[in-house]
């Protein structure tokens, strides 16, 4: 360690740095395409959402494989799979973004509050979190869904109420260790209030963890929605979601693999896209990683 002067690194805005990463750009493109497709579904879908087409089934009543008029094939009721996936993107995006976002918000609030203030309030919050963790998530979701009449937004709420627990637990641990760090003591010593410390000195350090859990949560929430749909308490048929398309058809996986493959790919791609953007965002927002790409 010497008093040597380091060269001045180049500085760019966070967005400009994000744009320099090809993988992040790829992720952003996939997300943009998915959102656009979901919004434009009524105009770009080749058929009606729940239209059962006569040409959609073979003479034996089996679904049509991909090709011809049905780009991705048809399902067991003769509905066009591409159309279903386009409309399904709406549900899955709402679940993946809204439900997951709510889960992150609740988890962050609970975890950070409990981790920073500790005391009896922190203990109560964390014991409640432990209780929720021990409770089977599916059972809880079923109970909640039974109380409220199922609709897309209720499903999103149910998923959020189930999924915040892990986030809270992880952020609690991180916050407790952050709160013990010297720079937090240094902030207190210059007279900084709790609000300032939490907002400016604790939350920015939790952003990487929140991003990781947020991107991981996309696929788990989409799949949880599918499970709920399968149990009849999720998004109600005939409204499609990527999850319920898979669950409706998984029994016929061998006879009609495309029915599981395409919606599965859609979930995978979306989760991957969020992961790529999340990873890049984490690096871009970390000042110690600057100038490395």
């Amino acid at each position: 360690m010497s008093d040597a002067v380091l060269p001045e690194p180049r500085r760019r805005t966070a967005l400009a740095r994000l744009a320099r990463r090809p993988l992040a750009v790829l992720g952003l493109v996939i997300i943009a395409v998915t959102v656009a497709a979901a919004l434009a579904a009524p105009w770009i879908a080749p058929f009606g959402r729940d239209e059962q087409l006569f040409e959609g089934l073979t003479l034996e009543g089996a679904p049509m494989p991909p090709g011809g008029a049905f780009l991705l094939g048809t399902d067991l009721l003769g509905r066009d799979l591409l159309t279903r996936i386009l409309y399904g993107a709406r549900t899955s995006l709402v679940i993946g973004v809204v439900a997951n976002g709510m889960a992150l918000l609740i988890g962050t609030l609970v975890g950070v509050t409990a981790g920073y203030f500790r005391g009896w309030a922190g203990s109560v919050l964390m014991r409640f979190t432990d209780l929720m963790m021990a409770f089977p998530a599916l059972l809880l979701a079923i109970c909640l869904a039974a109380i409220f009449t199922p609709s897309l937004w209720i499903v999103a709420l149910v998923i959020a109420l189930v999924n915040w627990v892990q986030v809270a637990r992880v952020l609690y641990t991180e916050t407790t260790s952050l709160a013990e760090r010297d720079f937090i003591a240094a902030e207190r010593a210059i007279g900084a209030g709790n609000g300032r410390i939490l907002w400016l000195h604790i939350l920015p350090h939790l952003v990487p963890t929140i991003i990781v859990w947020g991107t991981l949560g996309i696929s788990t929430t989409v799949l949880l929605e599918a499970t709920l749909s399968f149990l009849g308490i999720g998004v109600q048929p005939p409204e499609p979601s990527w999850g319920n398309i898979i669950f409706e058809n998984q029994t016929y996986f061998q006879a009609a693999p495309w029915l599981v493959f395409f919606p599965g790919m859609a979930i995978l791609l979306l989760a991957l896209a969020f992961n790529l953007v999340g990873d890049a965002l984490r690096d871009v927002l970390d000042p110690t990683q600057r100038g490395r790409g």
């Binding site: 010497s2 690194p9 720079f183 240094a186 902030e187 010593a189 210059i190 007279g191 000042p287």
Partner: protein
């Protein structure tokens, strides 16, 4: 242990064959831009019973050299040229399986932090036996006897009992002895000690250094001592290699290096080393009014044990401390770890609940909640580790401006101007304001922390071990900055340190603490020039002197329990009464 009766160290002896010889060793790290050398062409020979010190500041490559000898380099770092010969065998060319057999058996290593190099879930005995059995197949009983011998050799009290204890039950010095016992249990030819005493208190450091010297004499082990501390070098080494930026600056016998250094860098390094008694003992100016007074300050932490979480024990961190810090003076608190000196710093900064009374620039404080924002304006704290005390996600300019923002001082432009002035005052440039903390070196970061503390123009700055984590040359410059600030701005300092030599170089008045109480207090001339309390004397004697010709007085060399500040709830520690022995020189009564 049958101790080989080896003659003393090398210089006077006829040169025997070297045990370890390093020839042109170059170690490089693989980076995206290709191989970058960390250590370049270092060569030395080590003979039996000889101690070679590799000295240098952080980043000089001294630790990498020791890891290369042990074959313990990180995965992306490797030795790219040269040879390490142990009795003729080139260790760099050996396959890992054979290297493993040599490591611990023929070449052993002692690391800096004894707690992390011991396994916390195994007893000391089990770990020693495991290490012995790994290299020499023998009966369990025999291995246990060997383990006991090793513990006796490192002079642990009650060695039979220690075998059954876990690492956390031992004090830091005892743990380091266990680590040394493990290293010498197999009587290695070469012992590599990487900063073996840096994490230890001075009195414990003294014990460990004495022990290493005894072992070298008794067992004839050759020692490679890696250290940044020139005092330790002067005491231990026969020969010295001074390193800088991965290259050897100078090497030679210890007396020659200290008395007649040939290179400028060595000279500068030696000049920067703080020495006890280097500053003339002048009497302080007429006493001014106190800025901060502590009256009967007491800090206790409750320990809850048992099922019901009742308070059964208490940590008596600070126990009835009273002292005054006067305007424009540097008041130093010295003591070893756990003596409560840092707790006092945290109390003044309002980070810890306390009893007693603090008067700070006219504010009377009786409990933690009295330390309001207005009080904090008058007292600021600078922490030990500048890397940890700055939020890594904020620009340093914003960090320095933050106290002004919190206290609502000035407009944005005015704050910016203040920050620029502060940066220049502490020796940084305006161009550095928009950078992040990680872009600075350790010394620069500490300057930023000092600028931040100065932003509110406080009357008192508490410097809690603020120069301890810095290299000597950087340390000297930061100390100079603190001196200037005291002269120019009239700010008082509460300077907290474990390092007697640093305190001697900067303090006006000194208080020596032990187990939460003040043992001796007075001007620097009184405490260091005429130490009265036995603990003060012990501390001063323990400081390694950067002068190879200095002879330390002999003392008992047995490690025993260190008294603990943790006591039963109904058993508070006895208060020491301070007695004036003349001219305000206060000394605690024996007891």
């Amino acid at each position: 242990m049958t101790l080989a009766h080896a003659p003393g160290a090398g210089a006077a002896q006829a040169p025997a064959d070297p045990v370890l010889s390093v020839e042109g060793l170059t170690v490089s790290v693989a980076t995206e831009a290709g191989l970058r050398p960390l250590v370049q062409g270092i060569s030395f020979d080590l003979r039996r019973g000889e101690t070679l010190a590799i000295a240098g500041e952080s980043g000089s490559g001294k630790s990498i050299t020791s890891l290369a000898i042990m074959g313990l380099l990180p995965t992306n770092v490797r030795a790219t040229a040269g040879a390490v010969r142990l009795a003729g065998t080139d260790l760099l060319r050996l396959p890992e399986a054979r290297m493993r057999a040599i490591r611990g058996d023929r070449v052993a290593m002692i690391f800096q932090e004894p707690m992390t190099s011991l396994n916390p879930v195994m007893t000391v005995g089990a770990q020693l036996v495991e290490a012995i059995e790994a290299h020499e197949p023998m009966a369990r009983g025999q291995a246990q006897a060997r383990a006991l011998e090793a513990l006796k050799a490192v002079r642990l009290s009650e060695p039979e009992h220690r075998l059954r204890q876990y690492p956390h039950e031992l004090s830091g010095g005892m743990r380091q002895r266990v680590v040394i016992a493990m290293a010498i249990a197999l009587r290695p030819d070469v012992l590599i000690a990487d900063e073996p005493t840096t994490a230890l208190d001075v009195t414990v450091q003294r014990e460990v250094l004495d022990l290493l010297r005894d072992l070298r004499r008794e067992l004839g082990t050759a020692i490679v001592l890696i250290t940044h501390d020139m005092g330790v070098v002067a005491e231990m080494a026969d020969r010295v290699i001074v390193m800088k930026d991965g290259a050897v600056v100078e090497d030679g016998p210890v007396v020659r290096i200290f008395d007649a250094p040939a290179k400028d860098y060595t000279r500068a390094l030696l000049a920067a080393v703080p020495r006890m008694g280097a500053r003339p003992l002048e009497d302080a100016a007429a006493p001014k009014a106190p800025v901060c007074s502590l009256r009967d300050l007491t800090v206790r932490f409750d320990l809850k044990r048992g099922m019901l979480g009742r308070t059964t024990h208490r940590v008596h961190a600070v126990e009835g401390v009273s002292c005054d810090i006067r305007a424009g003076e540097t008041f130093a608190l010295v003591g070893e770890s756990g003596c409560g000196k840092s707790t006092i710093a945290k109390t003044i900064a309002g980070l810890v609940p306390f009893d007693g009374e603090i008067t700070l620039a006219g504010h009377a404080l009786r409990r933690q909640s009295d330390v309001t924002r207005a009080v904090r304006r008058d007292a600021q704290i600078v922490f030990q580790d500048p890397a940890a005390a700055l939020d890594p996600r904020m620009r340093v300019g914003d960090l320095v401006a933050e106290p002004l923002v919190i206290h609502g001082i000035g407009t944005r432009e005015e704050r910016r101007a203040t920050v620029e002035q502060l940066f220049e005052r502490v020796g940084l440039t305006r161009a550095q304001i928009d950078r992040y903390p990680h872009e600075f070196s350790g010394g620069q970061r500490q300057r930023i922390c000092i600028a931040r503390a100065l932003a509110l123009r406080p009357k008192l700055i508490v410097a809690d071990e603020s120069v301890s984590a810095l290299d000597v040359s950087v340390q000297a410059r930061v100390l100079q900055l603190l001196r200037e600030l005291k002269e120019d701005m009239g700010v008082s300092f509460l300077f907290i340190s474990h390092d007697m030599a640093v305190v001697d170089s900067i303090a006006d008045r000194v208080a020596v603490m032990f187990l939460g109480q003040i043992m001796e207090m007075g001007t620097r001339a009184q405490v260091f020039g005429d130490p009265r309390h036995p603990y003060t004397r012990r501390l001063i004697e323990a400081v390694p002197v950067p002068d190879p010709s200095h002879v330390h007085p002999a003392r008992a060399r047995m490690a025993t329990e260190v008294p603990s500040p943790v006591r039963r709830r109904d058993d508070p520690p006895p208060r020491r009464v301070l007695r004036d022995v003349g001219g305000g020189h206060l000394v605690a009564a024996e007891g």
